[in-house]
C-alpha cells in the first residue's frame, strides 16, 4: 500500500479480505466482488492494488473486470435502477419501461442523473418473470409496471 492507501479504511478492509482469499484456488473474481462491495465500483487504483496483492498481472485483472458485465468501472448514482430486459419482460413491454424512465429521469441506459441520484442500467432477467415487466431499484423488485406505478415508485426514492 502506498501512503494514501494506508490511510484509507477501504483499502485496509480490502487488504484484509485479500489476505483471507489468497489461499483459495482462483481468487480473482471473488476478490473483485468484494472490492466492488467496498468501493461501489472498481476504479483503476483498485485494479492496481488487487493485481499487486494477488501477484497477478494488471492486464489480467483489467481483462477480467471488463469481460464481466457485473463489474463497474464508473461510480454509480445513489440509487441504481436495473430495468429487466429479459425475454418475459420484453414480451410484456420492457422497452416501454425504458422509454418512460427516459422521459421521467432524462437519462438512458448506462447513464446517471446530473444530481447523482439515479443510475439507469439493464439486466437480463431478475427471476421474477411472473411479474413482468420488472425493474429493480437497489435490492427491491418492482413488478407489473406501467407509467403510473413507475412514477409512484420514483417519487418514493426522490424524497
Amino acid at each position: 500500500m502506498d501512503a494514501v492507501q494506508i490511510d484509507n479504511p477501504k483499502f485496509r478492509e480490502l487488504e484484509r479480505i485479500i489476505g483471507k482469499y489468497r489461499t483459495i484456488d482462483g481468487p480473482l473474481i471473488e476478490v473483485l466482488h468484494k472490492a466492488q462491495g467496498i468501493f461501489g465500483y472498481i476504479p483503476p487504483e483498485v485494479e492496481r492494488f488487487v493485481a499487486k496483492e494477488l501477484k497477478i498481472p494488471l492486464s489480467t485483472v483489467h481483462g477480467v473486470v471488463t469481460f464481466y458485465n457485473f463489474f463497474r468501472t464508473q461510480p454509480q448514482g445513489k440509487h441504481v435502477i436495473n430495468v429487466c430486459l429479459g425475454t418475459a419482460c420484453h414480451v410484456k413491454g420492457a422497452s416501454r419501461v425504458v422509454e418512460i424512465l427516459r422521459e421521467e429521469l432524462g437519462i438512458g441506459i448506462g447513464e446517471t442523473t446530473k444530481d447523482g441520484r439515479f443510475t439507469l442500467t439493464a439486466v437480463r432477467c431478475v427471476g421474477a418473470c411472473g411479474l413482468a415487466p420488472v425493474m429493480m431499484i437497489d435490492d427491491e423488485v418492482y413488478g407489473r409496471l406501467d407509467r403510473e406505478k413507475i412514477k409512484k415508485v420514483l417519487a418514493e426514492y426522490r424524497e
Binding site: I24, D25, G26, P27, L28, I29, E30, L32, H33, T60, G63, V64, F67, Y68, N69, F70, F71, L85, G86, T87, A88, C89, H90, V91, K92, R96, E99, E103, V123, R124, C125, V126, G127, A128, C129, G130, L131, A132, V134, D139, E140, V141, Y142, G143, D146, R147
Partner: protein, 600 residues
C-alpha cells in the same frame, strides 16, 4: 410437536418483491396478539409457483390457498380462519374461467396437473432449516449410497434411470458420470452449474432458494460415485438469496457431519465451495464456467478434451445442472424403475419450467416429460389473458425456437422439440399472443447473443451482428427482397463454424421464426407492415374523431408536442411528421380514442 395449524408463506423472489415478508411479520404479530403461538406454526418457504398471484400462502390442514395477501389482511385471517375456522373467502384463489373459489390446494388446477418430484420440498419446508429437510427424507439417499452401494453401483443406477441433463443439451447423466469415474487421476471435481443464463428463466434459482440441501445431497452422491473430494457451486451474482441460503445450508450440513471430512463416519470426504458469477451469459457454457471459477475471463475453449477428462484446474471434472442434481436423491431412494415410470421412454422423469409471458398463470411448474405444450399453456397456464389469440411459444431461450399453434399438441421431450427447430433448453417457456411481432422477437434474441458473444471466434463475432443488421433493416421497413435468403445463409454458417454452443445455437430463434412465420417477415419487407404493430417505424398513431372528446390529456402528455387541439373542441390531431410513436398519448387517453394503424 405438531401444531394445530401450519401456515406456509411463500418467500420466493416474486412474492418477496410483493412484500411477503411484511405479510409474514403481520401474521406472526396477530398470532402472538391472539395467544395462538403454541397452536400455529408459520414457515417461510421457497417459491410455490404461481408468482403472478403473490404474496401467496397456504394454510394446513385445511389446504386454504390465499393470494395477494396484504399485511392489512393479517388480522382478519387470524381471527376468522385460525380462531373461528372460517377461511377468508375473498382472498382464496379463484379460477379465472369460473371465478369459483377452490379451497383445497390439491384441487387447484395449477397444482393438480403437475407432478412434483424435484420441487417436492419447494414451498413446503423451511429452506434455512436442515432439520426440516432431514424430516422429509433428506440425506437418506446419501446414507444409503455411502453404506450400501459401491460407487460403480451408483453410476449404474443413475445410468439405468435414463436421467438426462437438465441444463439444456440432455446428455445422459449416467454416461457422463461414468466418463469422470473412469478418468485417471487422484484429484477430481464436481461442479454444479447454477449460472442460469437464459434471460426469462428462474427454475434453478427457485430450487436453490427453496431446497438447497437437495442440490448439495445430489452433488455429494455424485462425488462419491466419481471419486471427487472437492465441489463448486457456481451461482449467478444476480441471485443473492440463493447464495445466502446455500451458505446457510452448507454450514449446517458440515455441522451435522453430512459434508466435509469423514461424512457420516464412513471415511468419505467431500466439501463444497460457492462461487459467484459476474454477469456473462457465456459462462453457462461448461468450459467457460470452468475458466470463470479459475478466476479468468469466461471464454470457452474447444472440446475435446472434455471436462470429464481435463476440466477445472486441468483435472477430471463432472459438471451438471442444478436440476439434474436435484433429481439424484429421488432416483437413489425410489429406484431407476420408478423414475422410468414417469415421463417418456427416451426422456424419463419430470421437467421444471418457468412459465411466463402472455399466459394467465405464470410461475414455476413441474410436469412429467411428454406433457403436451397445450396442457402446459392452456391447462396449467390457464390460457391467454384478455381474450387474445395464442401466437407462439418460445422454449430454450436464446438457443431455442418459436413453436406455432399447429404444433401445440407436441409432447415436451428433447427429441420432439428439436424436430420442431426449438430445444428443451433449461426450461424457460415464454408464451406470445397476437400482439407480439416475430421479427421483433428474433431481433431481441439476436441482440442478446450478439452482445454476449465472447468475441473469440469469427463466425459468432462477425456473423451475429451481420444477421442483426438485416433484422434491423427489416424492422425499419427497409428490407430487401433477398434478405431472407441471406439471413438463412448466414445462420447456417454461424451454426456450423462457431467455436462453442453460444454461436452454434444463436441462429435458432431466427431460423425457427423464419420457418413458421415467414409470411410475417415478408409482410415487413414487401408491404412495410407489422401486423402486431410492434415495429414502430411501420406504424402511425391516429386519433379517432368520433371517439375524441377534446379532454386535452394527450396534448399535454406528448413529449414532442406533436398533438394539437383546443380543450372541449374535438377532435385533436397528431402531426405524423413530428410524432415519435412513443405511445404515451394512447396510454393516457381516457376514451381509447387513439389507434395504431399501418404506416402505409
Amino acid at each position: 410437536m405438531p401444531k394445530r395449524i401450519d401456515v406456509l408463506i411463500c418467500g420466493g423472489a416474486a412474492c418477496l418483491s410483493s412484500h411477503s415478508d411484511e405479510v409474514r411479520a403481520a401474521i406472526v404479530r396477530e398470532i402472538e396478539a391472539h395467544g395462538l403461538g403454541k397452536e400455529v406454526r408459520v414457515v417461510e418457504t421457497g417459491c410455490m409457483g404461481p408468482c403472478e398471484l403473490g404474496p401467496v400462502m397456504v394454510v394446513y390442514p385445511d389446504g386454504a390457498f390465499y393470494i395477494r395477501v396484504s399485511p392489512q389482511d393479517a388480522r382478519e385471517i387470524v381471527e376468522e380462519h385460525f380462531l373461528k375456522g372460517r377461511p377468508v373467502q375473498r382472498l382464496l384463489w379463484e379460477t379465472p374461467e369460473a371465478r369459483r373459489i377452490i379451497e383445497e390446494r390439491k384441487q387447484v388446477p395449477f397444482f393438480a396437473k403437475q407432478k412434483k418430484v424435484v420441487l417436492a420440498n419447494c414451498g413446503l419446508i423451511d429452506p434455512e432449516n436442515i432439520e426440516e429437510y432431514i424430516a422429509a427424507d433428506g440425506y437418506t439417499a446419501l446414507g444409503k449410497v455411502l453404506t450400501e452401494m459401491s460407487p460403480q453401483e451408483v453410476v449404474e443406477e443413475i445410468a439405468a434411470s435414463g436421467l438426462r441433463g437438465r441444463g439444456g443439451a440432455g446428455f445422459p447423466t449416467g454416461r457422463k458420470w461414468k466418463f469422470v469415474a473412469d478418468a485417471p487421476g487422484s484429484v477430481k471435481y464436481v461442479v454444479c452449474n447454477g449460472d442460469e443464463g437464459d434471460p426469462g428463466a428462474f427454475m434453478d434459482r427457485s430450487l436453490l432458494e427453496g431446497d438447497p440441501h437437495a442440490v448439495i445431497e445430489g452433488m455429494t452422491i455424485a462425488a462419491y460415485a466419481v471419486g471427487a473430494s472437492r465441489g463448486y457451486i457456481y451461482v449467478r451474482a444476480e441471485y443473492p438469496l440463493a447464495i445466502k441460503r446455500l451458505k446457510i445450508a452448507t454450514t449446517a450440513a458440515r455441522g451435522m457431519g453430512l459434508l466435509g471430512e469423514d461424512i457420516l463416519e464412513t471415511g468419505f470426504s467431500f466439501d463444497i465451495e460457492l462461487r459467484m458469477g459476474a454477469g456473462a451469459f457465456v459462462c453457462g457454457e461448461e468450459t467457460a464456467l470452468i475458466a470463470s471459477i479459475e478466476g479468468k475471463r469466461g471464454q470457452p475453449r474447444p472440446r475435446p478434451p472434455y471436462p470429464a477428462v481435463q476440466g477445472l484446474f486441468e483435472r477430471p471434472t463432472l459438471i451438471n445442472n442444478v436440476e439434474t442434481f436435484g433429481n439424484i436423491r429421488h432416483i437413489i431412494l425410489n429406484g431407476a424403475d420408478w423414475f422410468r415410470s414417469i415421463g417418456t421412454e427416451a426422456s424419463p422423469g419430470t421437467k421444471v419450467f418457468a412459465l411466463s409471458g402472455k399466459v394467465i398463470n405464470t410461475g414455476l411448474v413441474e410436469v412429467p416429460m411428454g406433457t403436451t405444450l397445450r396442457e402446459l399453456i392452456f391447462g396449467i397456464g390457464g390460457g391467454i389473458p384478455d381474450g387474445k389469440e395464442f401466437k407462439a411459444v418460445q422454449t430454450g431461450g436464446p438457443s431455442g425456437g418459436c413453436i406455432p399453434a399447429e404444433h401445440l399438441d407436441t409432447p415436451i421431450d428433447y427429441e420432439s422439440l428439436q424436430a420442431l427447430g426449438a430445444i428443451m433448453g433449461s426450461g424457460g417457456v415464454i408464451v406470445m399472443d397476437e400482439d407480439n411481432c416475430m421479427v421483433n422477437l428474433a431481433r431481441f434474441f439476436l441482440e442478446f447473443t450478439a452482445s454476449e458473444s465472447c468475441g473469440q471466434c469469427v463466425p459468432c463475432r462477425v456473423g451475429l451482428p451481420a444477421m442483426l443488421e438485416i433484422l434491423e433493416r427489416i424492422s425499419r421497413g427497409a428490407g430487401r427482397p433477398d434478405d431472407l435468403d441471406r439471413l438463412e445463409q448466414l445462420a447456417e454458417t454461424v451454426q456450423r463454424a462457431s467455436l462453442c454452443g453460444l454461436g452454434q445455437t444463436a441462429p435458432n430463434p431466427v431460423l425457427s421464426t423464419l420457418r413458421y412465420f415467414r409470411e410475417e417477415y415478408e409482410e415487413h419487407i414487401r408491404e412495410g407492415r407489422c401486423r402486431a404493430k410492434v415495429c414502430t417505424a411501420l406504424v402511425r398513431y391516429w386519433i379517432d374523431p368520433e371517439a375524441c372528446r377534446g379532454c386535452d390529456q394527450c396534448r399535454r402528455a406528448c413529449p414532442v408536442e406533436a398533438i394539437s387541439g383546443t380543450p372541449g373542441k374535438p377532435p385533436y390531431v397528431i402531426d405524423e411528421g413530428m410524432c415519435v410513436r412513443c405511445g404515451t398519448c394512447r396510454e393516457v387517453c381516457p376514451f381509447s380514442a387513439i389507434e395504431i394503424l399501418d404506416r402505409r
